[in-house]
């Protein structure tokens, strides 16, 4: 049974790289929703400033402090809106044959990758604002945590879910909606990975390229 054990080094340069693909951007309405939220916050801050200033003036106090505080608050709201704009533009997802990556962040940047074979549960959530803007949030749950991708179009979210279902070892009862027909929508083209250049690995230890698809269903003991 046991063959000679080999453990040569792998040239990681030959492996498929997440960073060599372009990430798909989120739906433009997501940015609009964020900006609308920022505008609403700014309006509330301005209104509070005006009300407080009028109150202070009626009491005979100096309004300068209130106005300066209000302006600082407004500046922070605008700054946060600018940062959110940058953040949303950076956000994106990448679907490869065997995994899904999601990147986000403004000052600190994060790229999270979850292999489909580790996904245990997929769900699509749509809050009231998301429903109005035609957006959806896709959640992939594994035994080690959740990746939540907000700001997807409904079509993209549904198609992504189909991609994950087709490739992951997920139980059908985990889904809250019936499968949408038609397979992949045009918006999230799954980037097919280049075939893995066979790294110099012992043939008995690791599958040579192309990668064998992961299990699609758990085999029962009846098999």
């Amino acid at each position: 049974m046991s063959t000679e054990f080999l453990n040569p080094a792998i040239d990681v340069g030959d492996l498929p790289q997440v960073d060599q693909h372009a990430f798909e951007p989120l739906h433009p309405n997501f940015l609009r929703a964020k900006m609308a939220g920022a505008a609403l916050t700014a309006a509330v801050v301005a209104a509070i400033t005006v009300v407080v200033a009028i109150f202070v003036q009626s009491e005979g106090g100096r309004t300068t402090v209130v106005v300066v505080a209000g302006l600082v608050a407004l500046f922070l709201v605008v700054l946060s809106a600018v940062l959110q704009r940058v953040a949303v533009r950076y956000m994106g997802y990448l679907v490869r044959e065997h995994d899904l990556s999601y990147r986000y962040g403004v000052l600190s940047r994060t790229t999270q990758t979850i292999p489909f074979s580790r996904v245990q549960h997929v769900s699509i959530d749509r809050g009231p604002v998301e429903r109005r803007l035609g957006l959806a949030t896709l959640r992939l749950r594994s035994a080690g945590g959740v990746i939540a991708i907000a700001g997807l179009s409904v079509d993209a979210a549904t198609s992504l879910r189909e991609v994950v279902v087709a490739r992951a070892d997920v139980e059908p009862e985990d889904f809250d909606e019936p499968a949408a027909p038609g397979g992949l929508a045009p918006s999230p083209p799954p980037v097919s990975p280049p075939p893995i250049a066979p790294p110099p690995i012992a043939p008995s230890s690791i599958t040579p390229s192309p990668i064998t698809p992961p299990p699609t269903a758990p085999s029962s003991i009846d098999d």
Binding site: N7, S142, A143, G145, I196, I201, I211, P215, P218, I221
Partner: protein, 511 residues
Amino acid sequence: MTDLETSDTDRAALSEPSRQSPLAVVFLAWRVVRGISVVNLIVLGAVLTTNQLPVSAFALAPLVVGGLGILGLISWWRYTFVVDGDELVVSRGVVSQNRLVIPLDRVQSVSLEQGLLHRATGLTRVGLDTAGSAEVEFSIDAIPLDQAESLQRLAADYRRRSERSRDATVEQHAVGSDQIGSQEHEETEVLVTRNFGQLVRIAFGHWPWAGLVLLAPLLAAADDIAELIGLDFLNRLEEQVGGSPDTAVPSIPIGLIVAGVVLAIAVGAILSWSLQLVRQVLTDWDLTVTRTGRGLRRVAGLTNRTSVGSSLDRVQVLRTSAIPMQRWLGIARLNMVTVGDTNLVVPGTTQSELERFRELVFEGPGPDLDRRLSPAMVVLAVRNAAVVAVLATVFLVQSPVGWWGALALLAVPIEFVMARWRLRRQRWGLTTNRLGRVSRFVTHRTEEIDPIKAQSVTVRQSFFQRRRDLASVHIRAAEGRFELPMIPLAEATALRDLILYRVESTGRSWM
């Protein structure tokens, strides 16, 4: 006896719907009491002790106890379990009947625990852990030991058969073929035993204050205890000083103070180690870790004897730690982080035992831990220390401390030296089958993970790291995680790609 015969015997032992031992009534009634919640019981206790209640209220006590007894009796009567085909079916519930059906191949582990009452009566408590998309955990309070062991073996057999058929259908030349084959062997190999002498060494290998933690609950009543044993002279002294400032307090010679402090430390350490030894004996008495065809099993305990098992595949991360005392004694604490609630912890592990566990959990030799983290770690640590030190100095200089407050700035060079020391003593390395990290600071720690255990991989760059082309890598397993905090970005992304390649190209399951 062959595998099949064992399975049939075990199945026969569980084929009829069984009740627990009548002793379980006690445990079930206790569950009801616990269900009332501790807070309510405390409130009840407080009401009773204020003597506000008429004496007649106490006449209710027998009624309450009787009620609990009847409730326990009904729970016991209605609680049955049976192995029906491939499923364990548990029926329970006092008012509404609750039927729980658990496919045996989903049961991740069956642990046995014997308290004093159990041991006197040859019974055991059984804990079942079925980790999965829907996590279910429950326990059966008191059933005969042989029946519990039958359930344990049956569940392990089902899991093994399920894994074998899955691995066979997934990939013919899986890397794990060696492991699948090795599960065939039914011989039991004793990996670790601990006698009293070794427990003494383990207890001695803790920090001198570790045992005192056991006394922490007593702190709440410290004043009363001090008064009880006549140690409240400090309070009396305080009262004396506060009450009559003119009274001359007799001066205590400095030598006596030093001797007193040394004596207090020595007594504290001896007390601590004694308590630690008691704890060690109670929890790890006659500790045995065996390797069976089904995985690893750890049995230990003096009054409460626990038996925890796990298949090797459920081990996600392997960690060791050794404080200076433990290194002096040549031992370390091994923690095999497994899926589920209970990790397999082996105290007082020697180097050879450690290597044996590594052989079992991982395939092939470990990585050369020759890679370093970036020196930027020092810059970050010093920068953070400087910010805190400057703020502290500004605050202290304006306080009565005055310019002495500037001494807080000394924290910066100290942190610089410490950070350099920490950096120099951290290494990591990888092979295709193992990713390892070691930190040899005051406590030596190692952490190892097989890349296929990864559930997700994250590459993160803080603003500080982005300016220096650095990144951190976070690997999340089903239980536990592995992190490399500060490595070059190119190395981080290459590592991420390698881990993904390993996860996606193997047919082996992560559990």
